[in-house]
Amino acid sequence: MHPHMTRLFRLTLWILLAIVGAAAVAIIAVHRGEQINAMWLVVAAVCTFALGYRFYSKFVAAKVLALDAMRATPAERLENGRDFVPTNKWVVFGHHFAAIAGPGPLIGPVLAAQFGYLPGTLWILAGAVFGGCIQDFVILAFSLRRDGKSMTEMAKDEIGRVGGIVAYAAVISIIIILLGATALIVVNALKSSPWGTFTIAMTIPIALVMGIYLRRLRPGKVLETSLLGFVLVMLSIWGGQWVSHSATLAPLFTLTAPTLAILIILYGFAASALPVWLLLAPRDYLSTFVKLGTIGLLALGIVAIHPSLHMPALTRFTDGTGPVIAGKVFPFAFFTIACGAISGFHSLIASGTTPKLVTRESEARMVGYGAMLAEAMVAIMATIAACVLQPGIYFAINSPAGVVGQAPETAAATITQWGFPVTATQMHALAQAVGEQTLYNRTGGAPAFAVGMAHIFASSLGGHTVLAIWYHFAIMFEALFILSILDAGTRVGRFMLQEALGHIWKPLGHTSAYPSVLTTSALIVAAWGYFLWQGVRDPLGGINSLWPLFGIANQLLAVVAFCVATTILIKKRQTKYIPITLAPLLWLVAVNFTAAYDKIFDPNPRIGFLSQARQLAATGGNARLIFNFRLDAFMTALLVMMVTLILFESTREWLRVLTGRKQASVKEAPFVMTRFALEEQA
């Protein structure tokens, strides 16, 4: 075909894609009253993401970052066969996606579905294209130019010492809150569920068997071992139904939330102190194996059955009276969905392992921007999984007993009164169908997602008779996911704490010395364990307090990342392009500072931590609960203060450079010509 014709053909295709995308967004935005098909969300997402990738990321790569395919990357210059290894771009993409995709993009959209499908969907589309993808992309690109330095190191180099220290402290705080919040999701999913608890309990001996098999019998055969582990996990899911019906075994695995919390805290400590090869690594492999397979399967399931969404576009809870997360749609929907739109945590990965693997600078676009788009697609699928449920069922699962009442009839009547009809008989039948005693008050998002996912899977494979198997598969998948993060997060937190304490007293910094390992592991586990315990004792289910705290913390880390990125752009005299990073930065400040203010000071006790503490104090409530709410308020204020300090330091640096009071100099590694270009030419 003639080149002009090819160009015209491509242009026509992109215009067509833009029209279809705009139509899909318009339909999901203006359609009211009747159910819409989930495929409209998929089409809107695919078109928006394709356009964002093709045009916006290309513009940023060419004009703002000036990525240079001729410039050698750290993987090439510092190649050592260990950390720095030039790797195929698709392999890096897969590796990066596997690291950034956690339970967040699944849980956040499910919780935000209380506002209806529209706010979450629009936020995922716009937030990912203009915020999350840009953050991951620019941080990866800047790390590539700095020998693969971490975000905290870049903050220290570009913003100053204070910026570096605060970023370090913010990361540790966020890890602790993240672990506490996600552990609570597992507790809420497994409480009074012998089937689910048995399955998850079995993953521990399975991981130990995998570790020993891998080390003693088949050294290095990780894929084979993961497949073996997967088969064993599937058998334990299958076996779980007999456990749940056994008069002897069922009581052993029917645990209360406090018991589960204690067991998870003990597990976290053991996982951090045991050798990596024995428990952490095999679980990580198993979790990744299940994660990639399940996400692919869910995508196929949604396309195959293209279900209708029963949740309306907007619910009455946009006014702030929602039972899942109390607070108005702005700002609460925008930080409830963090990982699927903008997650500050990604900046740690984009400046961690990934920049040490990228072969050509130009590939940063596909890896950084592209992998985040894939994660946003997962968030869209999670929105669909939540919204295919009847709204009454969704609210019955996700509402805490403190809001809807303990008795099934009371809860069903309250939810029906809100305009979302549901009956106690209907909920009982659903619980029976998925092999649970009850589905009421299962806050945290995971059980609702599991019911939605089981519905999609069962509709495409196996029908209603295997609904229980699919439900427990989904619960296992999420819990395995989260427990892997507990393992890894506790260990990362431990290393960071050891490094920090090593500056005070050297022996504490020895990362393999057992007294130091045990002390720092205990400190990190105690910190997140405290938040977990607090969530378990919270009459409002805990998620209402902990998830906002996590969302705010996560996005405040994104503020730090955008501060670093904007500082570098200003120092590189790319001032006309700073809206690319400054706009999402200002948006995040507006959302999270408003959210933090609301969470601390709002007079509604369901929203504000301090008013909740005051209300409890006035009614002679538990002193520990009162202290916990004040602690949450303190933590939120502390995070905001730390980020304000970074904002202040960054702004000072920007003004110094822009007014010429400081010589603009960035700490980039010198240009070295890549050998790959020469090899390609040859």
Partner: protein, 66 residues
């Protein structure tokens, strides 16, 4: 028709090999292969133990997102 089928099969084959490479990288099999090449050794219990010793610290520090 035949060349088109060959081309499709070729692309599928390449796609599968990339997928396998992705999985081998994610599951650290490639890292182990690089370790063996670097240390001029063959796969064995001892070699794998040495690899784990070297790899453990990096793996334990690796961030996993939420």
């Amino acid at each position: 028709m035949k060349p088109m089928l060959v081309s499709v099969a070729d692309r599928l084959g390449r796609g599968m090999s990339v997928l396998l490479a992705v999985l081998r990288e994610i599951f650290d099999e490639s890292a182990y292969a690089r370790f063996l090449a670097r240390s001029h050794s063959t796969s064995s219990k001892t070699a794998y133990a040495a690899f784990l010793e070297e790899h453990t610290s990096a793996q334990a520090r690796r961030h996993r997102c939420c």
